[in-house]
Symmetry: C3
Subunit: 160 residues, 3 copies
Amino acid sequence: MDGRIAARLAELGLTLPPPQPAVATYVPYVVTGNLVVVSGQLPMLSGSLTCTGKLGAAVSDADGAAAARQCLLNVLAHLSAACEGSLDRVARVVRLGGFIACTPDFTRHPAIMNGASDLVVEIFGDAGRHARATIGVASLPLDAPVEIEGTFELDEALDA
Amino acid sequence: MDGRIAARLAELGLTLPPPQPAVATYVPYVVTGNLVVVSGQLPMLSGSLTCTGKLGAAVSDADGAAAARQCLLNVLAHLSAACEGSLDRVARVVRLGGFIACTPDFTRHPAIMNGASDLVVEIFGDAGRHARATIGVASLPLDAPVEIEGTFELDEALDA
Amino acid sequence: MDGRIAARLAELGLTLPPPQPAVATYVPYVVTGNLVVVSGQLPMLSGSLTCTGKLGAAVSDADGAAAARQCLLNVLAHLSAACEGSLDRVARVVRLGGFIACTPDFTRHPAIMNGASDLVVEIFGDAGRHARATIGVASLPLDAPVEIEGTFELDEALDA
């Protein structure tokens, strides 16, 4: 990795994790035209989830926001692979989809998802300002508390 | 706002609300190529939700469908801003994502989401006929009963 | 239907079902540029659901994976209609969205969704390798156990 965004990551004291292998028969990302679609990522860190359980129950809001942040780093790890290591090619973060595993009475989903949204803006600046949808779900794979997927626009089509 | 769609809104007795500010660090919409991606919208009206709670419990089907309709109007308010006031530039409503907060035994999601789907077809005619996915979720931000996001195709790229 | 993918379907002993009519006022698919967006499909077979209920409760994992497979076939039926019968025009399966109706303690969503993911790769080969997001939801229309939506890239824009 090199370039402006790599320098920004270093400045923020962040290291992208190695891209997580897909849990199943899908792939971590697909490039179509100048868009990169990254599969839903869990808060994996060094091979295990940062926490398990649900918001509004076993998982605190702080741990949920940290999990969202870790999901985002895993999304960026795949995005970086799609960009052959240069995140400078990202013209815009288009959309993040945030899935929060929670109890039916939980209502603070936006604050949890901000763990990811704030970080992506810290890293990419204005190009990181994205559309998003955040919802509360019944449960997630492996009992993860958060899952995040992303769509990104590159400065030009990779196959151009 | 002016143009054919503005006239149709007036004919239907509809006024688009002022665009709702994003609840968090994301933005209400992103334009990529000739697509506009609008963030998930809640049924906000004049600064508060039209109702709260869940379908199959405190929220009636009629109130749920009205909430879906309000979500759609909020989506269109942002779309209109993306189009600099002219919804005539919308070539096609591509996809609506509908999230219905409900009890596990609720099964009438399509009827709720029709509050939005019927309205967008009333407004845009054939160009309003869209793909959609409607699901029942555990809970939504601020205890909203419905959240709707949208993807739209413009007649040409805005940055062209 | 004709062509290479039709032959592959025959080889696998698969027949695409007739495209399911939309349950409501939306349409089964929208084409935008060279992308086809297919609405969320339920496991309908010959006019009724292959099973109803939730994973982790009344629906076994095997029945859930079979339902995911049926959802995928229904997605492909619409995709085939979008391609005017020739699935050979599909350049890439871009993304599948998988919604699993389940109990809050269910954690095996990836295995259920693999019913769809494995099949689409069997049919399309490398072009079938897709990004995906799989989540557990509170409930689905008609008490379906699984719903799947899809985005596909064609080899050229249909309106070109």
